[in-house]
């Protein structure tokens, strides 16, 4: 076999310069060869990003220090290289693209100039040659109207376009190694699919070695040649894509794969004749941008959305970013006021009553937000956060705290957690707390706005299970907003597919997600990464179908 482009051997990265500090990376060895994509997979805190930053020499100085092992790039040791040498190697031999295309580009510099900087730093080309090369590269990453985009600021471009700019910037000098750190995590599925294809094609054309970091098994199935699974700074196992997905040898890998929600919808629950608890009727929200002089602009965020939710059922709203799914959720909870249309909560119209009159109805509908790290007040104990709602509705402090303890146990946390603060909990635990907080008011409807999207798959599976349990015990109705079709397939009875503020398709989940009628729904399903794999059963979907026939 040829010599590897990247050879990481027994790498240890510790906190602080002193020996004996906690090890963030503990003895990692991986190799990436020319033209090959190695996927580094792991949940948050597994050390995959630290591995990539070590390779680039971009670790925060003084706080994280490689203490032993070696990282060789085409035979050259990186760990002992001077800062000057590292700068020379970056962009020419190794380049990196990052997770957040929204923030990875300098907002105040034209994107063309940002790519140009690479050429100016590493080549002696004159301005015209440089520009020609940049435009050529921009075409290679399939950007439209390259001249116009060249002179645009990042905020004028979409997320996908920005990520293409990042890729153009990374590959313009044809580096031997490309490190891609969750490059599609922040993108919509359809854009994600395009970017993954682009990386694949460019890699084939240029023979680049790719170290691809992701937490998403679906993405792994799409792009990897080989897979390295990481957990808590250690390498769990490595192998070819097929062997890892079919025959994982380690318990952890098996669990990780089993936790990936299947795209095949769960068995449909029988239709019920339970009462309707929530109805939205032709709900619309129009944002008007008022101008000082001249005409304002109108943005229709939600356009005549109609939906019904019965007691004990789960209705999913799925769509990409900007589809209006969160706007609908917020209108229904009356966090924002709908422009027109109606919302009936337990038979009572609430879309146009005043804030004061709304107060008694608020407790019937509660919401859980996406980011468990920011949706709890960090200065208030968990118990007080949960008890605040009931206290507002006249429950005594002692009773509310007692209820808070019960609720914490209901969501699988110890009752004595009431006196602790949010930072003492992990993301998954915090989301459990947020659910307990929402349940404290005994709502009829629970709105979960991307409530599991920020969580690792194993934690995600647990939280989904928890929601399912709670629904069975309390008969609560759940409005579940998600961009993730896999999650929707596992928890929803009915789904509503939204695009550009409109409902494209709605119906039973099993129906919509297996036999979509609309082109957009089909496109969404086709873009879902790893749709060919049935991860939990360690086989491709096609084999599963064959086996069940």
């Amino acid at each position: 076999m040829t010599n590897p482009i990247l050879d990481i051997n027994n790498l240890v990265v510790s906190v602080g310069k002193k020996p004996g500090g906690p090890k963030i990376i503990d003895g990692i060895s991986v190799q990436v060869h020319q033209g090959e994509t190695l996927c580094l997979v792991g949940e948050s805190g597994s050390g995959k990003s630290v591995t990539s930053l070590t390779t680039m020499g971009l670790l925060p100085k003084g706080t994280l220090v490689p203490t032993s092992g070696s990282v060789k790039l085409v035979g050259e040791e990186i760990l002992t290289a001077t800062d000057r040498r590292l700068r020379q190697l970056r962009a020419t031999q190794m380049a990196m693209i990052f997770q957040e295309p929204m923030t990875a580009l300098n907002p105040v510099v034209h994107v063309g100039r940002q790519i140009d900087e690479v050429l100016r730093a590493h080549t002696d080309l004159d301005a015209r040659t440089r520009k020609k090369r940049i435009l050529d590269m921009m075409e290679q990453v399939r950007l439209p109207q390259v001249e116009r985009i060249f002179a645009s600021y990042p905020h004028r471009l979409s997320g996908g376009q920005r990520q293409r700019i990042m890729i153009a910037m990374a590959l313009v000098l044809e580096p031997k190694l490309l490190i891609a750190d969750e490059p599609t995590t922040a993108l919509d599925v359809t854009t994600q699919k395009q970017i993954l294809t682009l990386i694949r094609d460019l890699q084939r054309d240029h023979g680049t070695a790719v170290l691809f970091i992701t937490h998403d098994m679906g993405v792994v199935a799409e792009i990897a040649d080989r897979v390295a699974v990481m957990r808590q700074g250690r390498l769990v196992e490595t192998g070819t894509l097929d062997s890892i997905l079919r025959n994982p040898t380690m318990e952890y890998t098996r669990n990780l794969l089993s936790a990936v929600p299947s795209l095949v919808p769960r068995a449909a629950r029988p239709e019920t004749k339970e009462p309707v608890v929530l109805e939205a009727n032709e709900l619309s929200k129009v944002y008007k941008e008022r101008a000082f002089f001249g005409k304002g602009r109108e943005v229709v965020a939600a356009d005549k959305v109609t939906l019904t939710l019965r007691k004990g059922r789960t209705l999913g709203i799925v769509g990409e970013s900007g589809s209006g799914k969160s706007t609908v959720a917020r209108c229904i909870v009356r966090l924002i006021d709908p422009t027109s249309g109606g919302v009936r909560l337990a038979g009572r119209e609430i879309s146009d009553i005043s804030r004061r009159l709304l107060q008694p109805h608020r407790q019937k509908i509660q919401i859980v937000f996406q980011d468990p790290y920011r949706s709890l007040n960090p200065r208030v104990t968990v118990g007080e956060s949960i008890a605040e709602g009931p206290i507002n509705y006249g429950v005594s402090h002692a009773d509310a705290m007692k209820r808070a303890r019960e609720l914490l146990e209901l969501v699988g946390l110890p009752a004595d957690a009431v006196s602790r603060y949010p930072h003492q909990f992990s993301g998954g635990q915090r989301q459990r707390i947020a659910i307990a907080r929402a349940l404290a008011l005994d709502p009829d409807v629970l709105v979960a706005d991307e409530a599991v999207s920020a969580l690792d798959v194993s934690v995600q599976a647990q939280v989904l299970e928890l929601l399912h349990e709670i629904q069975k015990r309390l008969g609560i109705a759940i409005l579940f907003i998600t961009h993730d079709l896999r999650v929707a397939a596992q928890i929803c009875d009915e789904v509503v597919v939204m695009q550009h503020g409109r409902v494209v398709e709605q119906g039973p989940a099993a129906e919509v997600l297996t036999h979509p009628q609309e082109a957009y729904t089909r496109a969404l399903l086709e873009a879902a990464p790893g749709r060919g794999w049935d991860f939990a059963n360690f086989r491709p979907v096609s084999e599963g179908v064959a086996a069940s026939v």
Partner: protein, 313 residues
């Protein structure tokens, strides 16, 4: 851009209108007869009547206001009660020293403080950072008159490099102007260096944690380019705000420095006018100061849009 400028200037008009109304009412709504206030303690009845007539105090309030604003727009700010000179002329004489010192102070402060702040943020947590921050605490805590007298003692009295006090207009020659302005500039800039350096450091530290700075480093460009091209420009908005408000403060509020260095600026004019209850001068100073703040704020906002393309108008 031009449209934005025009809109902003137009938006400043009501602000100045409210200030003018306030200034106008200041005299009219003070308890007692404005004429008596203006005339002072030993006024004769004839003098009072004359003042009343000249101010049009017998007219309705609205008419008085319109006449007063009309005069204002023609540059007539009234006559000083103490010196009997037109207020416009008095201020005109005092504006050059004040603006010169404010400008030179801000320029010196920016030249010294911004690089200090950038270096401190770049070398965050090292002795360089601590040294710069130490200097900044010193700059905040030593009163300006102490710095002023120490500078005079060392450079004017012991070394005899520059004159002790006074001010010469730039029209009399740059040398004479410069040697008199250098010490007050240094004394005043102390606190502004401290302030701007701190602000720059804080803003830079924020920006250095941003993803695009990591991207810039991943490109393999050198650290100076990372700092200047990517970090500093993004950190500039809060720094510009401090520089702008600092400048406005400097024009109107440097009484102590003007006293220490015996400079005939508008700070001292204001204090003298307040002590002597010279109402027309006080009114004019309030108007002028407000105007300076409005203009500076306008410039700051324009600077924002130039620095950050995301800020739209």
């Amino acid at each position: 851009m031009l449209g934005y400028l025009i809109r902003r200037v137009l938006a400043a008009v009501p602000v100045m209108g409210v200030v003018a109304l306030f200034v106008f009412l200041l005299l009219r709504l003070t308890p007692g007869d404005p004429a008596a206030i203006l005339a002072g303690d030993n006024a004769t009845p004839e003098r009072l009547e004359r003042i009343r007539a000249s101010l049009g105090l017998n007219e309705p309030l609205v008419v008085q206001f319109i006449t007063w604003v009309g005069k204002l727009l023609h540059g007539d700010l009234g006559t000083s009660l103490i010196s009997n000179l037109p207020v416009m002329k008095m201020i005109g004489q005092r504006v050059e020293p004040s603006i010169s010192i404010a400008l030179s102070t801000i320029i010196l402060a920016v030249i010294v403080a911004v690089p200090l702040g950038v270096i401190a943020a770049w070398k965050h947590g090292t002795w360089i950072d601590r040294f710069v921050m130490g200097l900044s605490v010193l700059g905040f805590s030593v009163p300006v008159f102490v710095v002023g007298y120490v500078l005079i003692e060392v450079f004017a009295i012991d070394l005899r490099w520059v004159p002790v006090q006074g001010f010469k207009s730039i029209s009399t020659g740059f040398g004479a102007f410069f040697e008199r302005i250098i010490l007050p500039t240094c004394a005043l800039s102390f606190i502004y260096i401290a302030l701007i350096a701190r602000m720059t450091r804080a803003a830079m530290l924020d920006v250095l944690g941003e993803d695009y700075v990591r991207t810039a480093r991943a490109k393999g460009i050198n650290e100076v380019a990372v700092m200047m091209r990517h970090a500093l420009r993004n950190a500039a908005v809060p720094v510009i705000t401090v520089i702008g408000t600092g400048f406005a403060l400097l024009i109107s509020g440097v009484v102590v420095t003007e006293s220490v260095f015996n400079i005939p600026g508008i700070g001292r004019l204001t204090v003298d006018a307040v002590l002597a209850r010279d109402y027309p001068v006080i009114q004019a100073m309030i108007l002028l100061t407000s105007l300076i703040y409005v203009v500076v704020n306008l410039l700051i906002d324009v600077a924002y849009t130039l620095l950050d393309p995301r800020i739209r108008y």
